[in-house]
Assembly symmetry: C2
Homo-oligomer: 312 residues x 2
C-alpha cells in the first residue's frame, strides 16, 4: 500500500500521522510530541517522522502544515511566530533530502481549508471560504476547486484586511484589521481597554482574561462582554461581506474556539452581513456552517494536499 | 479559417468584431453601433452580428462582454444598469439559439482582465489583478492562470468592498466602499460636498463637474482638487493592500480614465499601500502598471475567453 506522511507543526506540539494514500482517512499510525525539548524543532520533527516511517509500505511523500507564512512552491518557511530560528527555513528541501521522497510545506489555515473541503463540511462545493477564529484569524480559499495560493503563497491572509483604517491595532502592528476586532485577542483587548477606562463589569479582577471568560460573562448578561461580542460579530460580518463580493463562494466554514461561542458572535455577524451585501444573490443560497474535522483538520488537510500533488 | 465573434455591449454602444480563432488579434471585420435606436438592444446586437457574420469561415462561437452582473455559467444577465428591460436575460441562450453556435456572456471587467493577461500588460503573469477606475470601479482577477468567477459568477466586485464602515455612500447605496472614495463619481461627490459646505476652490461654478475637471484643477494647484485626489489615492491604497493580502498577485494592471491622472492618484496610493502591507514580500517584486489595450480591451478579452472555452 502506498502511504502519505502528514505533519502538523505548531508552536507547542508537532503531530505526525501515516495515512493510506487513498480510500481511508484512518491513520495507520500517529503521534504527538511537544515542539520544544531535546534537539531543535527540525530534529524533533525529523525524528518523529523516522519513528513513524511505515515499514513495508512505500511513502509517496511528506505533506506538512505550519502556522505562519510559507512559500509552498519552494517549501520555504518565511518566519515562524512561535519557533525561534525558523527564518527562511527550506523545510521542504530538508525533509525531501533526509527521506528521499517529495515533501511539501503549506500554511495551516490553507491545509485546514483543504481538509474541510475534501473530508469535512465543504465537500462537493467548488467555491469555499474557510475562516478559523481563535487568538488570531486564519483563512483559506478554494476557488473553482483550487486552493488559492498567490504568486509567493502569501494569499488569503484575510484576517489582515482593513475594515476600518482608524481601527484598533492588530497583533501585526497595523490598524483596523478584521483580526483586531473579531479574534479572541481583539475581543479581549477591547474588554481590557474598557475596564482600564473604568467601565463596570463582572470581568473586573479576572487575572488571565480571554475570549472564553468574556463569552461566559456575556451569557450571564454582562453588558461589556455582550458589547465586545457585538462589535466582534459586526466587523466579522463586514469582513465576510467583503469576501463574498470578492469570491462569491457557495459555503463559508467557520472553525476555531471563538466561532464556537455561537449566537454571541454569529447573530451580529449575520445582521451585519445582510446589511452590507450589495445583492441578495450573494447570500441567498450561501451555506454558513461550523467546521467538522476539529483537531484532525490540519493533518487531514495535509493528506488532501498530498493526494492532489503526489502520485499514487 | 475558424473564427470567433466578440461583442462588447455597453449602455451607449455595441461593438462586434470577427477574429481569427488564433494567431492574430487583428479583426477580420468590426463595427460599432449605438445601443439605442431602432429595435430592442437584443435585436440590434443580433442584427450587427448577422451583418458581420463571416462568409466562408466557420464560427467557433460568440463571446460577449457586458458592464453589469452576469452569470457566465448560464449566460444570464442579472440586471443591466444602462439598458432597460434587461433583467435575468438569457442572452447566451438567445445568441446560441439564433446563430447555432456556442455563446458565452461575461462581465466586462473580467473580460478586460483576460484581455490584458492574454494580449496586454499582464502577459506571462500567473496571478493578476485588473482594476479599472472611471465613473465606477471594476475589477477582475486571474489566480493561478484562471479567471476567478465564483459560484454564480459574481466574484471580484472589489469596488464594492468596505474600506470604512462609516464612509460616504456608494452609488450602490452602501457606505464606505472603495468606489465611494476612489472612483470618478466618488472624487466628484467629495468636491461637490465641500463646495456645498462653502469651501473655496477654482472649481466653484463649473456646471458639469467630473474627475477630469478636478484633475485639471489639481494640476494648477487648487487645494480642494488636490485633497480630493489625495483621499481617493489613500483609500485606493488601502483597498489594494487588502487585495494583496487576499490574492498575493505579481502584477496589478490599472485601467480607466481616473488612473490616467497619474501621480495625482498614484502617489498617495503607493504611500498608503506601503504603509498598510503587513510584509514587504507583498510589494517587493510587485508590478503596478497601466493597462495597454485601451479601447479594444473588452473585445480582446472576449477573444481570450473564447480561445480558452471554445474548440478550435
Amino acid at each position: 500500500m502506498k502511504t502519505i506522511i502528514a505533519a502538523d507543526i505548531g508552536g507547542t506540539g508537532i503531530r505526525v500521522a501515516v495515512y493510506p494514500f487513498s480510500g481511508s482517512t484512518e491513520p495507520l499510525a500517529q503521534k504527538r510530541i511537544p515542539t520544544r525539548g531535546e534537539g531543535t524543532a527540525v530534529e524533533r520533527l525529523v525524528g518523529l517522522i523516522r519513528e513513524l516511517w511505515p515499514a513495508g509500505h512505500e511513502v509517496a511523500g511528506i505533506s506538512a502544515g505550519f502556522p505562519g507564512p510559507v512559500n509552498p512552491y519552494e517549501g520555504i518557511i518565511y518566519t515562524a511566530p512561535n519557533i525561534a530560528d525558523w527564518k527562511n527555513l527550506p523545510l521542504g528541501q530538508i525533509l525531501s533530502d533526509t527521506f528521499h521522497v517529495p515533501a511539501m510545506v503549506g500554511n495551516d489555515a490553507n491545509m485546514a481549508c483543504l481538509g474541510e473541503w475534501k473530508f469535512g463540511a465543504a465537500q462537493g462545493h467548488r467555491d469555499v471560504i474557510y475562516i478559523t477564529i481563535s487568538t488570531g484569524i486564519g483563512t483559506g480559499v478554494i476557488s473553482n476547486n483550487q486552493l488559492l495560493l498567490g504568486a509567493k503563497g502569501l494569499a488569503t491572509e484575510m484576517g489582515h484586511t482593513v475594515v476600518n483604517p482608524e481601527g484598533p491595532l492588530c497583533g501585526c502592528g497595523h490598524p483596523g484589521h478584521i483580526e483586531s476586532y473579531s479574534s479572541g485577542t481583539g475581543i479581549t483587548s477591547f474588554v481590557k481597554s474598557q475596564l482600564a477606562a473604568g467601565r463596570e463589569s463582572s470581568l473586573r479582577g479576572i487575572s488571565r482574561l480571554s475570549a472564553k471568560e468574556i463569552a461566559e460573562a456575556a451569557v450571564t448578561g454582562d453588558s461589556l462582554a455582550k458589547e465586545a461580542f457585538e462589535i466582534a460579530g459586526t466587523y466579522l460580518g463586514i469582513g465576510i461581506s467583503n469576501f463574498l463580493h470578492i469570491f462569491n463562494p457557495s459555503i463559508i466554514v467557520l472553525g476555531g474556539g471563538v466561532s464556537q461561542t455561537g449566537s454571541l458572535i454569529l447573530d451580529p455577524m449575520r445582521r451585519s452581513l445582510k446589511e452590507r451585501v450589495v445583492s441578495e444573490e450573494y447570500i441567498k443560497d450561501l451555506v454558513i456552517t461550523p467546521a467538522q474535522l476539529q483537531d484532525n483538520c490540519g493533518l487531514l488537510g495535509c493528506l488532501a494536499w498530498a493526494q492532489i500533488n503526489f502520485k499514487e
